[in-house]
Symmetry: C2
Subunit: 235 residues, 2 copies
């Protein structure tokens, strides 16, 4: 047991807290921004590892980074700003993830299909993150206006899907049942419904994710009505 370093922090022996770090090595002058990034990483880690958005507290983040709570205020004016920024990063990453998941697909329908599956899988694999991004009422507009801005990180995925849907309609693969943006919101609602309901109602005997996405696709594509009822007037 060589001890090359001074025993600043003797031994966190009774430490049961799962997420903790030794005191962080202080950043050198001019490198203060490094902590900012580490803080945002920590927020994401807490979400991913605990799967619970409630666990994100200034103190928990500080502990994970290896820094005391007040240090965080050097980089973020308050907790909401910190969380907001972490969310923006997460939305961007999520958008990239979706695009990568369909990188090998060429026709629009396959793109949508691949992204739908990837969407639900992401939610299942990262429940905490998904909850914060898509299941919380949005305190997401601090200095933004409340009007719609397609450049906003949380809208990127939706806009991308709308483009794909538009392309599919132009190719004649999809019928123009509604405008691309509206159809995109329906697709989004579809995958979000599957994902969020699975996360919320954990003791329902759900089919597998693959089955559900496949079925969603079959239904959205061809419907579940008998074709004889195509012109039925079910009110």
């Amino acid at each position: 047991m060589s001890q090359t370093e001074p025993a600043d922090h003797p031994a966190p022996s009774g430490n049961v807290v799962p997420l903790a770090a030794p005191r962080r090595v202080r950043a050198r002058r001019g490198e203060g921004e490094r902590l900012r990034e580490e803080i945002l990483d920590a927020v994401e880690r807490i979400l991913v590892e605990t799967g619970d958005a409630e666990q994100v507290s200034i103190r928990a983040v500080g502990q994970l980074v290896g820094v005391t709570a007040p240090s965080i205020y050097r980089h973020f004016s308050d907790k909401d700003v910190m969380v907001h920024e972490a969310c923006q990063r997460a939305y961007d990453r999520f958008d990239n993830y979706l695009n990568e998941s369909s990188a090998n697909e060429t026709d629009p329908l396959s793109v949508i299909h691949a992204q739908a599956l990837a969407y639900v899988r992401f939610a299942m694999d990262n429940p905490g993150q998904y909850r914060v991004l898509f299941m919380k009422p949005a305190p997401h507009h601090h200095d933004h206006s409340t009007s719609f801005d397609p450049e906003r990180s949380e809208m990127k995925a939706l806009v991308h899907i709308a483009h794909t849907v538009g392309a599919a309609i132009e190719l004649g693969v999809l019928r123009p049942v509604a405008d691309p943006m509206t159809l995109a919101t329906m697709l989004w609602s579809g995958v979000h419904g599957i994902a969020s309901l699975r996360l919320a109602m954990t003791d329902v005997p759900w089919p597998t994710v693959e089955e559900q996405v496949e079925l969603l696709f079959t239904l959205l594509a061809f419907g579940m009505c008998n074709t004889s009822g195509q012109n039925s007037s079910h009110q």
Copy 2:
């Protein structure tokens, strides 16, 4: 300004708290169960009026009923039990509400359609309640087993829909794309997706509820693919 009652609580003049009640008249002996019901009512009122599940605290409930916090422990062993019980009542009421909403409909498709619209409308009208019932990870099984129990309050609606779907399939109105229970979960996911996404992403320019439900129905019924693509191999 006649004052027939003793001035026990002089004047809550500076009281800005919206939800408050004068001290409750004490129940007579043997009528203790009355408070229990009033507590459950209060939990629901907080959810409905504040639209925010976080606002449900032992103290807030006590204040709303007009009773001190410890009194609640005479009727519920802890907060979780209290909330759980309030949820069970709410699930039951919700199931009744759905059934009433389609009471005038006869054919299965119209029943489903009416209930779908009623479902989303309820969520929009009672966001707080909807959030607790369907957007929280379920701590709903206290003394229950974790296995599926169709008699559970939160499952009643699902089971009802599954029956309706089964009837529709037997009538030949719906194709047996999957078994009734699976189809029911897809319908549930569909309306839940619309409702919960609207509640979570408040600054998206959503179509109206009616439009969305109508479109969901059109899509689920007839699909959005061109019939020429019915046998396409989109992977």
